[in-house]
Structures are given as C-alpha cells and as structure tokens.
Subunit: 640 residues, 2 copies
C-alpha cells in the first residue's frame, strides 16, 4: 500500500509500505520532516498530522481534542497504516527546516558581534593565517629535447616558484594533470598546502581560478550554520543555515543515539547530517560564492560530542552509556574525502575537540571565540542550545559542565512551545493593570501567533511573576479574562485566543508548562551555582557573563535574572556573543594558531560531572522556585 504525505507549502511525497507500518517511521523513511522532539513515544504531542483519506489505526492522545480528532488530526507516532492514505503534514512542523531563526550571521547585528570576536582574537595574539596557497606557474611545453613528464615538469615549476624541496601530487590532481596543462597552454594555478619544505598539491586549475576557501561549520542538534571564507583575506564569501536533517530521528541527542544503535542506524544518522544537510548547504554556498567545491581546502566543525560522533559515523553508544566516555575527544587527520563532502577530497576537516560526553567541540570552539583563556577576569560562558553547557574561569583555569535543561528552551515540554520559527512569540510584556499581553511574533508583518519559543517563555514567566499573576511556585494566583482554569482546576494564561491565533487553536501556558520550565531554568542556575562552588567562588566574583547560542540571541537578560535563571549580576556584565561555536570554527579554519589554541583550551579544561557531584541535587531543588528559595541571591528580582 501507499502513503502520500501532502506537505503544506511543499510537494507531496509518496512511499510504499506494508499494513501496520508506523506513520512517523514512514515519514522518516520518506525524508518527510515531522517535528517529533520526543522521538515518537507519544509524550510531546508535536507530531500532528491530518488524515485526509484512508484508514489509520491510532490510540487517541490527550494532545488531540475531540473536535480535532473528528477533523482527522492524529499523532503520527501512534498511527498504524491500514490502507492507502493521504496525510497532511502541517507546514508549522516542517517550517524549521528552511526558516529556523538562528545566529547565522544574516543580520548586521550578528555580523558586528562576529567582527568584535574576531578583533578580540587578533588582540589575543591569534594570527588569522594558514599555510594554504594558490600558486601560479607557467611551464615550457615538452619537446624532443626537453622530455620531462608532466608531473616532474609541474614539480620543478612549483619548486622554482616557492623554493620548496618537495612537491607531492595526489591522485585527484594526477588524473587531470595531462589535460589541464595542455588545456591551459602550460600556465596553471595549483592550490595546496605549504608544509615546511614540502608543497602538497590539492587542486590544479586554470590560471584565473585562484580562490582558496575555508568552510566553517557549526553543527547544532537542531540547526546547522556555515560560512565560506577566503583563506587569504578572511573575507566571508557566503553563509547559510538549515535545520539538522537528523531531527526526524529525535529532537535530543539521546533519542538519536538510540536510533543510531539500531541496525543500519549509524549510516542513517550520518547520511541525515552529511548528505541531507551539509552537502546541499555547501553546494549552495559554493554557487553563491561562485567557487568550485574543489577550492575548499580546509573545513572546521564546532559540534557537540554526540553530533561529532554521528556526523563522523562513529558509534555514539559510549556517549550515553556508563561510564559516559565518548569514543574520541580530538580527531586528527580527518579529510573531506572520508566524509564525501563536496569539497576538495584532501581538505583537512578540523574537529574542535570534545572534552566529555556532554561538553563537546561546540563549547571548546565557543570558549576559544569568547576568549576566556586569555583574560585575568573571571568569566562565565553559557551556551544555551538544545542542551545547556557552562564554562567558568580565566587564563589560569577553566571548569566546564553540562546540565540537562531539557528541551524547554526550544519549545519542547511546553504545550504551546515551538522552536524560534515564523509564528513563534519571541518576546512578551504584560500590562499589570489589564493583564493584557503585548506580543512580538517572528515572521512577516501581520503574522499571527502559532506558539511560543524559548525567549518568549522566559519573558512570559518573568512578566507573570512580576505582575503577581503567578507565585514563586508558578501557580496562578490572580483571576482575569486571560487566566483560565480547566476541569481539574489547572490554571493557564492565554496569550492568544482561538480567533487570535494562526492555527485556530488557543496559545496558552499552563501550570504544568511553567513547572517544566522552572525545572529547566533551575537546572541551569544550579549548574552555575555548583560550578562556582566547586572552585570556592560565588556569584559576585563573576566579572563577565557570555551568553552564546541561537537561543541566547533574543533573551531579555533582565527577565532571565528576574526568574532566577541567570545569576544576579549587573546587566552590563552580560554580553551576547552569538553563535560562538561558528565563530570558533571560523577562527580554526582561517588560523593554524587558533587550531592549536583550541586544542590547548580543551586539554586544560576540567569537566565536572554534575550528576554525581555532591550538593548538586540540593542546589537544583533550591533553584526550582521563582527566583529561588534563597531570595537573597536575586536582589534585583521584582514583583509589583
């Protein structure tokens, strides 16, 4: 039998199947993106689809109302196909793939942050230089009296030009050498790596094609961001981003590790990131920059430990199994050809090193970019991605840890939560008198509300608390037209009534959502708290707080402090540093010194395993209030 997925705003996709096949599984096999943060166990309620035609066996979920059920809405994760079906996949679910809002250097503000970080690295003594070269050479044509074969002729020309002793010519150059030399009348450009007294050729082309390019990649669990840069000038040639194609195998790393450990899983997860995600972006950026993929002579990757394992096809089971030791921290000698990426096959792929199962290369690259390693002042680095990671220290020491904040900041675990795509509420203020909200919604003018994303939730909870609509435990304590209660007396605050929303469904936040969120923010604050006490320090000793990650960009720091998520330090100490993993990757692709420095940073960073750290649980429990059980920690937190 056949299932047809009608994707809102996209082309339909058809797949053959057997009776009883799971609908979400089929969507994955057909490469149809359905949002499924809980990876198909029925708990998140995000994988909704509408049955248009045919028969599905399903268990009715609490996430689907009776009216919705009657209209054909189902959770794809608990549907079995019983006949040929046509199924509508809401655009809302797949929107993140093309329109995920992320720190991808697309705004002038992001560019400015990026340029600042670059300037600061330069100031710290990191030179943005490397040993890749494009060399123009002209040779004499062979004659009966000058019988040097092509490869020796080229070698000799490069030796003369660069004054090197040895020249290596790899297979990919050798096979086109004869043709290229003759096509361009013995005047060519050779691209490669100058290593001591050796020039390692990587590409040969016509004399006019002198571009040598680096590709810096940030692989997030949710989003992938990338820039191409000129390896000589450091100029950005093209930039782009998209959702991580692995998302269809689960929103969090654990679900994906489970998925990869199934038969054929490693290849499936690797293909999802390499073939389905990175390859099209790189190809696109090459087109934009008008360069050949073979001109990409180095790539660098900032990614968390699991993403590194999955992208490289390495069994990620050790990451999630006791004793939680990944298969690798650093990795030398990786080539683009190993991964079949559209780049020069001999281009080294520099992986920012992991330092533990849950503090990965995105954090070491981010720490490199934030410059903690070069400062006397005490800095706290917070990366809020799908997970939360922290680094604290200065030039003398660096401590790091990860906290399982859960997916709340990305809209998971929150009934109307969503990622930061079109229709998401990204900022909220509430009028204390009328309790009416003012919403800032991502998207074009007139975009109606679909749900709420991480930064919106922080604002919303802070505002609800400030207006005393909820108490320190997150329970509703004020009545009003926007505060509703269900049959079980559970309170909720309505951001958008059914007639105000894009989907016709109410957008609200209830006490369970708020409780979930408080646990998430509590996890972060208690991690900060524990990290500080592990080195006998306190909040007031923090000189600087760097907030990184796409999720960080829209955060209202004052509100984050107000609810006890971030430590209560002067607001001017907070600095949003954008996608620091990408910035770090950029530094590494451009600069040999940055690669060395990142390895040094990783080697000197101590990893604190919170789950087994004494006192962490107590600290967490204490932080699960607004702002905290110990209100003295948050003197600036206000209620009106």
């Amino acid at each position: 039998m056949k299932v047809t997925f009608q994707i809102q705003g996209g082309s339909p996709v058809q797949i053959e199947c057997n009776a009883g096949d799971n609908l979400l599984e089929l969507a994955r096999r057909a490469n149809v993106a359905i949002d499924a943060p809980c990876s198909g166990n029925g708990s998140c309620g995000k994988c909704r689809v509408q049955l248009i035609e045919g028969e599905l066996e399903t268990i009715k979920s609490r996430h689907i109302s009776d009216e919705e059920y009657a209209a054909g809405w189902r959770l794809s994760c608990n549907c079995k196909v019983l006949s040929d079906c046509i199924v509508l996949v809401p655009d809302i679910a797949s929107a993140y793939q093309s329109r995920m809002k992320t720190a991808d250097l697309s705004s002038p503000k992001e560019i400015a942050i990026f340029e600042d970080a670059k300037a600061e690295l330069l100031h710290s003594g990191i030179e943005f230089t490397n040993h890749f070269r494009a060399v123009a050479v002209t040779m004499a044509e062979p004659t009966l009296d000058d019988t040097m074969p092509d490869n020796e002729r080229l070698t000799w020309a490069i030796q003369s030009e660069l004054g090197v002793e040895k020249v290596t010519i790899p297979y990919c150059v050798m096979v086109k050498l004869a043709h290229t030399l003759r096509e361009h009348n013995w005047s060519v450009c050779v691209k490669g790596l100058l290593e001591g007294d050796t020039f390692r050729c990587m590409e040969i082309c016509g004399p006019e094609d002198t571009a040598i390019v680096g590709c810096a990649i940030d692989i997030g669990t949710t989003t992938v961001t990338m820039v191409l840069t000129d390896l000589v000038s450091g100029k950005l040639l093209a930039k782009g981003s998209s959702g991580n194609g692995q998302i269809r195998y689960g929103a969090d790393v654990i679900n994906r590790i489970i998925e990869q450990s199934r038969s054929g899983g490693k290849k499936k997860l690797q293909d999802a990131i390499l073939k389905d995600t990175l390859t099209p972006i790189i190809a696109n950026l090459c087109k934009t920059a008008n360069i050949s993929a073979k001109s990409i002579l180095r790539l660098s990757v900032g990614a968390n430990t699991t993403m590194n394992h999955l992208a490289l096809g390495v069994d990620a089971d050790p990451v999630r199994m006791e004793p939680y030791i990944p298969s690798f921290f650093g990795w030398e000698g990786l080539l683009a050809g190993d991964l079949k990426l559209p780049a020069n096959p001999l281009a080294p792929v520099v992986i920012a090193p992991n330092i533990g199962s849950y503090v990965g290369g995105d954090i070491t690259a981010g720490t490199l970019a934030a410059g903690l390693w070069d400062k006397d002042e005490m800095s706290l680095f917070i990366d809020l991605g799908t997970n939360g990671e922290l680094v604290f220290g200065n030039r003398d020491f660096l401590m790091s840890c990860a906290c399982s904040a859960g997916p709340a900041f990305e809209g998971g675990d929150i009934s109307c939560g969503m990622r930061a795509t079109d229709g998401a509420v990204e900022a909220v203020t509430i009028d204390n008198a009328t309790m009416e909200p003012t919403l800032s919604i991502i998207g074009d003018e007139g975009q109606k509300c679909v749900g709420i994303c991480g930064s919106g939730i922080i604002d919303l909870i802070s505002e609800l608390y400030r207006c005393r609509i909820i108490n320190a435990k997150g329970l509703f304590i004020r009545e009003g037209s926007r505060v509703r209660r269900d049959a079980h007396d559970m309170g909720r605050y309505v951001l958008a009534f059914e007639n105000e929303s894009e989907t016709g469904r109410e957008v609200s936040i209830n006490e369970v959502d708020i409780d979930n969120f408080i646990r998430a923010k509590g996890a972060i604050f208690s991690a900060i708290d524990t990290l500080l006490s592990s080195v006998d320090m306190t909040v007031d000793m923090i000189d600087k707080v760097y907030v990184a990650g796409g999720i960080g960009s829209g955060i209202n720091m004052k509100n984050a402090v107000n609810i006890g998520m971030f430590p209560d330090v002067e607001l001017e100490k907070f600095q949003y540093i954008g996608n620091s993993s990408l910035t770090g990757a950029y530094a590494m692709v451009m600069s040999d010194q940055a690669i060395e420095k990142c390895a040094e940073v990783a080697a000197n960073m101590t990893y604190l395993e919170l789950s087994t750290y004494p006192g962490y649980m107590d600290s967490f429990v204490a932080a699960c209030f607004i702002p905290h059980t110990d209100a003295r920690l948050f003197p600036s937190s206000v209620q009106e």
Copy 2:
C-alpha cells in the same frame, strides 16, 4: 532492437541497440570478448562471429571464404545490425580470457625460476623486509576513574607496545574503533606502517587476525598476473591471472590510447582493467588465501607505460603524440583507495617507474629482477610481450629501447596466428625428407590444432628455412604435398589440413605471413644491433641474454638464433627468466629496498628512441632476411 551473443561455452548476453549499430561495438558495450587485434579496421580477420538468426549488413571480407559466408560467418567489425539478431561468438576468440598461457607461477619450473631470481636479489643485498606490522594490543576497559576515550586508549596501548611517539588513526579505523574494541573485549590486532617514530594504523580487527599481505601485480597489454604474499615471511599465499579486460578495445596499446581519448574513454578503459580485471582476481585470491582484503597493506605494479596511464585513469594521449613524453614516469603517494581496489584503502600502490613512452614499469621492474644493475658482465635483457623491449648494460650503465615488432609474436598479422591458448601450435619440427611436421599443441591430450602462436611460428620458420622449403626471403622454393599455391601463385605450408584441425579450417602459413614475421624478427634484431652500436659494442661482447615474458617461455633459443631474431651467441648464455615484471613487483611489495633500487635503476637507465636514431632503418632493412643480409653475423644458422 536486440542482439543476443551466444558465447561458446558461456552464458548468452543480450544488449539493446539501434538499427545500424556496429556489431563489434555492441559486443564491447555488452562486455562480450571478441578477439580484435586490429581494433576493428577489418585487417586482421580475427573478430569472426556466426550469424544464427536475424539480419546484418556487411562487407564481405577476404578473411571469410564463400562457404563460410554462406554458413553465416562474418567479421563483427564490419557488420551493421539491421534486425534482432542471434550471433554465435566462438570460444576460440574468448578463450584467452580464462586460459591464456602465461608465466603466472603456476608450474614448478616457473616457481623455480622465481625462487632463483629472489635468491639472486637477496645475494645482491636487497633485503626482503618492510615496515608493515601487525601489533597485538590489550587495553583496560574505561571506567569512571579511567576516562580516556577509545582513540587515546588505543594510541597509548600502541605507544607502549612499540615504543613509538606518535600513532595516527585514519577514518576507516576510527569509524569501527568503538565497536571493534568492545566486540573483542579490548584485545585487538592493529595493522599498519611503522614510519620512524610514528605508527600509522591501517586496520583494526580481532586478535586472531594477524595477516598482513602484499599484492604484486603484472599488468600486461594482453594478460594480468598477480600474487599475494605474506609481508612478514614473503611466502606466496595465492596466485592468479586472467586476460586484460581492455583487450576488447584493441590488442595493442595504440588502439587503446585512441579509444581512451574518446568521450568517456578514460573511465571505460580504467574500469576494464581495475573493475573488470584486477578486482575479481584480487577478490578471488583473498578467498583462496583466506584473508580479508583490508589485510592487503601494499600493492605493487609492473606495467608498461600505456597500461600504467590507462589503469590510473591518466590521459595516455601524450604517450602516442609527438614528442612522445608520457604524463608521468614515477608516481608517489598513490593509494589503493584512489583506485577503489579491494584492498586496504590506505595501502600504498607502488608503481614501477616508466622511463619513456615505450619502456615502462614492466621493464624497470624486470631489470630490477634480472639483476643487470648489480653485475660486471654485460647483459642483454629482452622482454617479448605485445611489444618488444630491450635493456643492455651492467652496473655502470643501462641502455634501453623499444621496438615495434608488431603483434606477430602473439599471433597477430599471421593468418592462422593466435595467442598461446588451447589449440595453439607452440612447437614444430619438420622432417627434412618427408616435409611432414610434428606439432606440439597446447591443451589436453588429443587437442587438435586451431592455429599457431609465437613460439610455434619461430620454430616453423626456422624449420622451413633449415629444410630449404623457404629461402632467405621467405619464399617457397620446394614442392610437396604440404606446400600449396593459390590462384595468385602465393605459396603456403599446411600444418593441419581441414580434417586435421579443430575448426575444420586449414591451418597454414603463407608467404605474406612469413614476410610479416620476418619484419617482426628483423625489428628485434636490428634494435639489439642498434642498441649495441650506440655504445660501440658488438654481439660478441654480450655475456648473458635474459629472455623474459610469457611469450619467451616456450621459445626455442636455437631456432630464434637460426632465423636471425636473437644474436648468435653461445646457447648457454641465454637464460629464460619468466615473468620478470611480476618478480620485480613481488620484490617491491616485499622490500622497501627493492622500491628504492627500482627507482634508482629507472633514474639511471638511458632511453634510446629508435625511430629517430640514425642507422636504425638501414639495420632494420638488413635484418629482414633469414637470418640476415650479412650471414657472417649468424655463423650457427644452418640450412641442410
């Protein structure tokens, strides 16, 4: 429309085609081997097929008699398909693919020759050692207190075991590291290369799999021969050979170069040798030797210049175009993965260096094996393959040249000529009184005569001359039942009458055949003569004559001298050294020193271009008699 090739002794092959398509082209596309030494220009008459059903447009060839034509026999090269056809492809034509007689170390005599050569190389100071190693290591399992990741753990274990400073782990090992370590309970075997203070891992496997293997390959224009050897003991593990799959694109190198220069030709020719020929043999030998292909850690290749270019996918046009300078002589850094051969992808592929367009790696490898470079005595090395190549010299100098002897020694240019496969006459004596021949035929007891191969032709012409059946110009001068004349008074000698032959066709040699052969042997002798005079030496200064190549094995040296093909030196100076290209390749795969020595031999070898050498043409013309215009050069040549 469709053409079905019914291959005698094989499975039928079908191919779709358009009206007017050339039948030989279709056979090539369908991978049906049809013997076509002249590459389809209608001159050799070897590409016979029998039309069983359907319609072909053809030009009747002089190679097809009226009776044969009526029976459906056609030359496939000049047939156009007009309808669905069924065509019979004689086994005789495709026989060479599986049953080509070649020096492939399959006989005790060949093994003895091989062992002698090996012993002599050892005696010359070439140690049969290399730096490939299989290392058994056992590691402690990671624990919460021992948090080293897999790659560092393995690195550390290898460092401890070998005392090396650096260990590199390539992608192909990294991706299976986590699984292999756990599957084998942290006790594994690592195979790789010990390079100074660095161990380069190439493969990881269970502790019991300790095989490290080399693969030595001789790629001839006609035949490919190969051995697997234990890289530690040097023991031969398996050996095999087959026809060169490129044969369907022409019997000689020139036709193949023309073919590769057409659109898509490079890939076609490369696939024919790598995918269709080498890959199945290697896979087969691995099965025989019971080893994994990943255990093959080094390969070596002895091949002529054109074969090297075609196998590596490098444009071979420069080989045949003025100024006849190949695209490469030596090639460093080639890996099995570049060629997608079934071996460890990181295994270096050592190419014995070419020294000119027509003196290639098979000759430098052969010279290495013959040991000319280590001797005081003056040696002449003759390799009779599809082409003829010569080397002359000793430890002080080495001169080389190639002569275009044409395909006569492989049965080309001779009406009843064939390669040395079943049914070929390989030796002949003639009774002077009765003029009756005694034939030695390749094949099982009772095998009837199909045609005559190179060694048979040498014997036959020598015997015809000895018995004064032909004169010095190769014209018939005696009458008898086996000497026939056609309508144009052209004489021929019948080896097998129609009722005596396998095919029912007469097997004979005529004056045109003899003339062609005299030109071939004349080319060889005049090349020897010219090579000697280029260094002011004469035949009597030759201390030793090494005769190499599959074609050389069956040669009766006395007869070869008798007809003026080989110089008239004492017969005991002749030594048959078998497939010296394979022996040289074996030495290189086993021994790092042999690789260096072969490069040195190539660098010191002078290439003499005969076609432009003054005096060569005169010498050639003088040699086109039996034995020579100057009979004093061949005092042992006899006529009874």
